[in-house]
Amino acid sequence: MPGFQKENGLIERVYWLIRLRWLALAGVISAILSTKLIAGIQLPFRALYFIVLALAIYNLLFYLYLKLARKRLFSDSGVIVTRVTNIQISMDLVFLAGLIHFSGGIENPFIFYFIFHMIITSTLLSRRESFIQATFAVFLFMLIVWLEYAGFLEHHCLRGFVLDDLHANRIYIFGVSFVFISTLYLAAYMASSISIRLKDREKSLKEANLLLEEKDRIKSEYVLRVSHDIKEHLAAVQSCVEPVARGITGALNNAQKDLLDRAVERTNKLLFFVKALLEITRIKLSKDISMEYFSLKKTVDSAIALVEEKARVKGMEIALRMDPGVDMIYGAEIYIEETIANLLANAVKYTSENGKISLDIKDRQETLLIQISDTGMGIPRDEISKLFNEFYRATNAKKTVREGTGLGLAIARQVVERHKGKIWVESEEGRGSTFSISLPK
């Protein structure tokens, strides 16, 4: 169980506990102040403030401990974190008992605030631990009540709030204790029941998710195999047909050449598609892609070189603006180059003649921002969210340019995500698009 809790961010919940404690402190201070200033009840305020101060120091120290030990706690299987949480909750119970003692003991309705600790324990820890904490709370409560009743501890009466001194009233003590104890155990029982059910559901969801991932992997392997085999055959077909079409094996008449050229062209398109499919499947299946430091500057230049000719034919130039100082980054060079070239090629493809295309590389401290902008046809607003899906092509793109695999942007997304970066697009139909990639340095 501890491992499971750790996966669910038990450490984060300990931070949550710290934040809650600050909130509780503020609540306690305002309760004390209103008792004093508004209700005018006399209590040993110095003792109460002392407890508040101690609680604040304890919370601060605990926060610092967590910060320092965070790394160790993360590598821990959850045993330490669970123990720390248990100790904290017990400490909170002691602090609350102290506050209750100095502010009326059994007369103070805030005794029911122990219920919150029960709920918190049940959500964070096991049912057994919740019952142990409930028993500890009951013990503290009974101890105060008995010590005050027997006169071993001074009772501070909430005069003005209660009509009569109640700490020695046996019937009152019996009644309140019964309600208090049953409330605590019931709260612990109910909250842990809910929490157990939630955890079970979470677990089965996680299992279902793993199963889906496994199925997806099997599917990808299948696609990889099939597209690989298709590519092998296609490559052989193309290798045999192309020399003939080029006239290497002898002169052809016009009809022969025309038909063979068509065959070569279609085979090329199919090859292009199969290669893209292979590539995206390969990235998906690979556990890690090999990365090293490389010069982004050089990569950008070669990406531009790949599309320059196509841009020139359409009367466009690619305007490159790069922040000074941008150079080495950590990543898979050929994939980054291909991604940039791919986005540039799209910009050229979907922008009419004499449009403008720019490539901006911006230095953003922790990250690098690569932006490819065009003045092309843009993307319909309601299609933007689907644009990076496999095989998706925007309706206006399909209408204008028939050919396209719908895989380019999906590959780009895979590549960028493998670099722990982000890719997104801003676009206005008819005005142009800006694709942005942010990569960690």
């Binding site: 490559a235 045999c240 192309e242």
Partner: protein, 129 residues
């Protein structure tokens, strides 16, 4: 005329390359496996080896290339590898520690190779080699 050895287990690709290469009067021989290829390098002493990566295993070609380059009698024979650059540097093959030239080939060409590209690469390698 220069002698070229094609090591590839796909007979159709071998045949197509032969046709293209023979238009320039190269003498072309072939081997259908890495093992056969290594034998033919010893026996026939080709001036250039065209080597496929994926044969019996996905990376058989790598082993053949390493063996050729580690052997003093064959280390000067230029190797043209048939592969995509992705397959060469991307996901499937990792640099090995201590491998200074981790991919010991002189050039590569992706399948299906364009006839002109194949011829120009072969010509270039034969001149420098």
């Amino acid at each position: 005329m220069a002698k070229i050895l094609i090591i590839d287990d796909d007979p159709d690709i071998v045949e197509a390359m032969k046709v293209v290469l023979q238009t320039r009067d190269y003498k072309v021989i072939s081997a259908a496996s890495g093992e056969e290829g290594l034998k033919k390098v010893k026996a026939d002493k080709p001036d250039l080896v065209i080597l496929d990566i994926m044969m019996e295993k996905d990376d058989s070609g790598f082993d053949v290339a390493r063996e050729l380059k580690n052997n003093p009698s064959s280390k000067d024979i230029p190797i043209l590898m048939l592969t995509a650059i992705k397959e060469k540097t991307g996901l499937d093959f990792k640099k090995e520690a201590g491998d200074e030239v981790w991919l010991p080939v002189d050039d590569y060409v992706e399948k299906p190779m364009k006839p002109e590209e194949l011829l120009s690469k072969v010509e270039k390698l034969l001149q420098t080699g």
